[in-house]
């Protein structure tokens, strides 16, 4: 008899925990938690992607400036936008890793530099081909090379 009463009391009290309100509240809480997690994940992913593109863009821009403006290091120019034949020849036959370092291109980013004729056909190519690149950024700089108009194309990419 006393055991039966206890069972009855226990089954009465269970309703307080598993009420519709509680189940609804837990469901809503889980939904909001998942939504917040999804929002955070997608936001972080977008930020990562943007930072990566920004970094690539900055590196390409800085590298192109270093190449077409006169100065020390990897500069190809004897005066602004006028490339020196000797410097171009030296750069395009140099060691890839050293050239990449001198242009401040860090892994996992890779570099390709092309010198194009007025019809934008390559005269010289240096660096790695971005065949399986996930992202790449290209900047074209107008230059004078061998007394004629040319384009120096700098491409930074990562696979």
């Amino acid at each position: 008899m006393s055991t039966g009463l206890l069972c009855l009391k226990a089954s009465d009290t269970r309703g307080q925990i598993f009420s519709i309100d509680l189940i609804g509240a837990v469901g809503l809480f889980i939904f909001i938690l998942l939504a917040a997690y999804w929002f955070e994940s997608s936001t972080l992913s977008r930020i990562d992607s943007t930072v990566s593109v920004q970094r690539m863009t900055t590196m390409a821009f800085v590298a192109s400036n270093a190449l077409v403006l006169p100065g020390g290091g990897p500069s190809l120019a004897s005066s602004p936008n006028v490339l020196s034949l000797a410097r171009v020849s030296s750069f395009f036959s140099s060691n890839y890793s050293l050239a990449k370092d001198s242009l401040a291109i860090r892994s996992p980013y890779e570099l390709k530099v092309s010198l194009l004729d007025p019809d934008k056909r390559p005269l010289s190519v240096f660096g790695l081909e971005p065949s399986d690149a996930v992202n790449s950024f290209t900047i074209d700089r107008i230059v004078v090379y061998n007394s004629s108009l040319s384009v120096l194309r700098v491409e930074v990419w990562y696979g």
């Binding site: 309100d21 809503l28 977008r46 006028v82 074209d140 700089r141 107008i142 230059v143 108009l149």
Partner: protein, 132 residues
């Protein structure tokens, strides 16, 4: 009465506040992803354009031949537009040229200026660039 805790005024207000914060952060995040790089590249390209035009003598040639800049326009990126204005020492427009198929002006621009001498007079060349 006991169910009201789900749809109480506090809860409704909280939902609005949270939604507002999420929308505001999303809006500002999108804005932060817009960069001034497009403008910086146009600026650099405009500067390259004038430097090379001057060094190749194309600015002087342009004063007598309106087509002198065509080879240089071809060197620009395909989606870049350019307009070159040349002003005399009094600031009066002396010559003007626009890359073909670039009548429509766009808000992202880059500009560069350079002085040069033609027939013993000083002129100011100004190039404004934008994307199609």
């Amino acid at each position: 009465m006991a169910r009201a805790f789900i749809l109480s005024l506090d809860a409704v207000l909280t939902v609005f506040v949270v939604l507002g914060v999420i929308l505001a952060s999303s809006f500002f995040l999108d804005r932060s992803m817009l960069t001034d790089w497009d403008s910086a590249f146009l600026q650099a390209t405009a500067s390259d354009f004038l430097t090379v035009a001057d060094k190749q003598g194309l600015l002087s040639s342009f004063m007598s031949d309106p087509d002198a800049l065509k080879p240089l326009y071809r060197m620009l990126p395909k989606r870049a537009c350019a307009r070159l204005n040349v002003y005399d020492a009094a600031g009066v427009l002396a010559r003007s040229s626009v890359r073909s198929e670039c009548a429509k002006f766009a808000p992202v621009t880059g500009a560069s200026r350079r002085t040069f001498i033609y027939s013993d007079s000083i002129y100011l060349a100004e190039v404004v660039m934008w994307y199609k």
